[in-house]
Subunit: 203 residues, 4 copies
DNA sequence: GATGAATGAGGGTTCATTCAT
DNA sequence: TATGAATGAACCCTCATTCAT
């Protein structure tokens, strides 16, 4: 059971991430965050110490949304390969792999080098992602290749997100998933079927 | 023969990119740019119409520095494979694949969605990189795979730059080059030797 | 019942007009307006969107002060002639027909051609003045002369205000009222007695 | 024979008054003055000590243009009444009684209270206008009414200029001349025929 | 004489943050 | 808890003015 104040905080950090998506870090003011949450101007700093803290929680929110996507898929995963599929596919969930969302995420990444807390959060997020991937890869690739493969996957995911940010709809979700599929196949020999939804006919 | 004013403009855009590296977009003020260039505050807007324009030229500067790295290597390339090496290796030149440089670059990328000119510049940069890669890959991979491979390479490069931004020295140039080497080998069968400088002993 | 914020806005627009009187439009900064109101610089733009809006309200304030003078006299007017007297005399109220006030007003007039809202306000003000005059003149002059006479009166008033701005105390209120008296008498045959307060002896 | 530098100064003060007409005092920068004169940015302050001086000469220029109008008409005046006509009509010369010109003039008037030199120039201009009018009125009205009548005429002229500034084309030259005609007739009994050009048929 | 580079002061505006209600 | 008034710092930008060529 959540307290009222926790609900309010959740609303606000959702709003913060939403504003970030639309306006980027430069255009993200506390007033806009409040407006996005349908609240009054002064409220934001009742729940957060300062602006930094607001956007630190926005990064947590962003990651929470991503994890939700992944966990949803994880529940139905019955094998290491399905777990690997779940992790990767979760990163490209249709409602999530959107230009605006990627842009919001990118805004936060660009702030990481100048905010220690943001850096710490990012470290935790990355560690968890790596840990999930390593766990899934344990039975799929040679032990000595696990770390490098996991790193390669997260890096390519990041690259694809960056590309989506820069090119918007001109870079499609399909292209992204095909890149991931090709990459995984080339490095592990596995066919995850990430882009299958787009394939018209199979030979 | 450069005019005096062009020299000044070059100094300023170098300064702008330098400030971006140290402070990010949020902390990048025109005053700091001027100070970095050893000039007075007013001069910056004597050469550029406004702040936007300054940082648009900073992106051009960043790309120019990258191209310099690549062109240098390209001159000694005698085969398609050496050209492919040159392009990729140029992206990881020691003085260039630095946390601060990557962070400056990332700051600009994060601003792309909110600045049409920045977006246009980015598009041009990306088009050239793709064109270079496609040209080098023409004789190295099957025709149908050229585009996807080129895209994959640029995307992984971006991802590695992003990782360098986020993790700083904790993510090494060696790791980056090994990822690139593995990726290229897995997708094209080629051994470029990107990480050879780091290899202690040969088998 | 005025809200607190309306009181503050009224204070600020009074301050804005006061600054205008002392410094003219060129010297009228928001900081001085704030200081005049005994407030901080930031507060001015808390209540008004920008500098333009501040001085648009300053013009409303100026007109409000004029109308107050006129309305006060209107209340005691029992005949068309007394109404005519009230309107004209109100324009030369002792506390109002001051060099500084006229100069403030002139500053605003000079800005009218470059500010649409100011122009609109001016139009409304002028329309009301004309309407008041026309109404008072209806029973005093031939129908065909009403409009021209009303226009003549307002124009001469403006001219006298302008003169007061330019010459300050060297152009006296008495001279102004005598000019008005002469003008009205010449054009309508009426003796309003505008300058009677100054007349030492009667013939 | 004018020196080259005097020609340049004349060009610049014409340009200054032109800029004032279009942009008002707030928008009148030295750079625009230079541009208007087809000269380079720095040149203005080679010929004038500072901005104030530039616009002081702009006022002289404005008055010179007015005097030109009047002198032209004066040359053909053969009687006091024709001289009176010349003075008044000169103030409403078609190319001169334009909204923009009146606005430029008004901008200067609004600056008079805050610039001693401007005030002095204005005083001289007004004195000359008064002197011209007094001289023309000497044989037309009773001695005791000369001063007041002269003052009334200049004041109404100012008022009509002000109205033209505020209302632009919506207040026509014809209306202005009719007001002057009516005023002069009412106060002196003279029919100058100022508005005759507009009269279709005579009785 | 003429140009335009360079400076720096100052103003409008935005915004995080604090405070009183 | 919630509101929004109030503050003040900082930034972008404009411009008068000076200077070097």
């Amino acid at each position: 059971m959540k307290s009222l104040s926790e609900i309010r905080r959740a609303e606000l950090r959702r709003a913060a991430f939403a504003v970030l998506q639309q306006q980027g870090m430069a255009g993200a003011t506390l007033e806009k965050v409040a407006a996005q949450a349908g609240a009054s101007k002064g409220i934001v700093l009742h729940y957060f110490r300062n602006k930094q803290e607001v956007f630190e929680h926005a990064m947590r929110e962003a990651n929470a949304q991503l994890m939700e996507s992944i966990v949803l898929r994880m529940r139905q995963a019955r094998s290491p390969q399905e777990r690997l599929f779940a992790i990767i596919d979760g990163n490209f969930a249709e409602h999530f792999f959107q230009p605006s969302v990627c842009q919001g995420w990118l805004s936060l990444c660009a702030a990481v080098p100048h905010d220690k807390t943001l850096a710490r959060i990012q470290r935790v997020i990355h560690a968890r992602m790596r840990s999930n991937l390593v766990s899934a890869l344990k039975d799929l690739v040679a032990a000595k290749d696990i770390e490098a493969t996991a790193l390669g996957i997260t890096t390519l995911i990041d690259g694809l997100w960056l590309r989506r940010s820069l090119q918007g709809e001109r870079f499609t979700r399909r292209e992204a998933l095909e890149q991931m599929e090709d990459y995984v196949r080339a490095r592990t020999g596995l066919a995850l079927g990430l882009a299958d939804a787009f394939r018209q006919a199979s030979p």
